[in-house]
Symmetry: C2
Subunit: 205 residues, 2 copies
């Protein structure tokens, strides 16, 4: 492939990312992607053949970026509490820069769960479970977190950072009516969320 190929293909991919994230698969138009990329509609098909293929490329890239953001913090050499503080700081920072990403990914998966199945077919999904369990066995035991309700804990942790973005449209409108800035809310959330979880866990002791 020549350099020029890559440049065009990348321009298309970036434009497609923008439009798909904003409008969704069904709402996106190939014409709009072409305009955004500054090229012709026919070129989209030259590089990606169909809308579906172009979408899949974008979706898979973004979904992996989003999911992989959950993992690394779990491997770090920290106490459970510090991991939580670190996680929310990093994760909310990342999502602040990609505000529409959660809503896009969640929605497209809900609409077609097969996409996710294909994506994670090679992965060991329970890796996060087991890392949490193995690295923090004593802490979790102390707090009466059993293996059985690790799913409850994990989904709660995720909920506290992802939900504000998934429900961004609602929160922004309601906050605005109250004179609250969504960005200030997010900044505070980096501190509030980990302390909330830590207190909830410690309260189990």
């Amino acid at each position: 492939m020549s350099t020029k190929d890559n440049q065009t293909e990348e321009k298309i991919f970036e434009a497609a990312t923008t439009v798909f994230v904003e409008k969704g698969l069904d709402g996106a138009r190939m014409q709009e992607i072409a305009d955004q990329a500054g090229i012709n509609k026919a070129l989209l098909h030259y590089y990606y053949r169909t809308k579906e293929r172009l979408f899949n490329a974008v979706f898979e890239k973004l979904a992996l970026i989003l999911f992989k953001r959950f993992a690394p913090v779990l491997d770090a050499n920290m106490s459970l509490e510090d991991k939580l503080r670190f996680f929310y700081r990093e994760h909310i920072d990342f999502l602040k820069k990609n505000r529409s990403l959660p809503s896009f990914i969640l929605n497209e998966i809900n609409r077609n769960p097969e996409r996710l199945k294909k994506l994670i077919s090679g992965y060991e999904v329970d890796k996060l479970w087991r890392i949490l369990e193995e690295q923090h066995k004593e802490e979790l035991q102390k707090f009466n977190i059993t293996y059985r309700n690790i799913p409850q804990l994990m989904t709660s942790i995720a909920a506290l950072s992802v939900f504000p973005f998934a429900a961004r449209g609602i929160f922004e409108v309601i906050f605005e009516k109250q004179g609250i800035s969504f960005d200030d809310y997010l900044e505070e959330r980096k501190k509030f969320a980990p302390e909330f979880v830590i207190k909830a866990i410690k309260g189990s002791a």
Copy 2:
């Protein structure tokens, strides 16, 4: 209006609800709605003129149902703790029967926040804030919940019940891989979520 009018209009509305919730505004087809209602495409336009109007009718009805489910519990004459237990039990039960509702509402609002603005223009959104604040002043003070971080608390409470449904596609797939039943998870959540919040709040004391 004759009885027959209402019957047809209602059949259309119900079919539209099913299809719009499942496919979204952009993904829904008037033909599919007509088929689902067992009538002709032209009749849709006879009753609702355009796809947009039909969608608006469905969206507004469902959004109000969803939002109003948050309010009544706040008025009840209970301690904050019992309200939380009551809320999660009722709310998760309701969402279990309407699993795709959160994803649908959140997504359509994110895609077009004007819908929400129109919907709540007559409402005092901060009513929930103030009820919480006034009815539980002492409890909240005791737990160091200031007026400033009531938004943090409210959004966290909502996140714990709504997020599992907003991310249902992901959770169902991952749980299945782990041999966990999503329905069992939801049943447990009715207990886990309120205790989680209560412990988090009490830990602030």
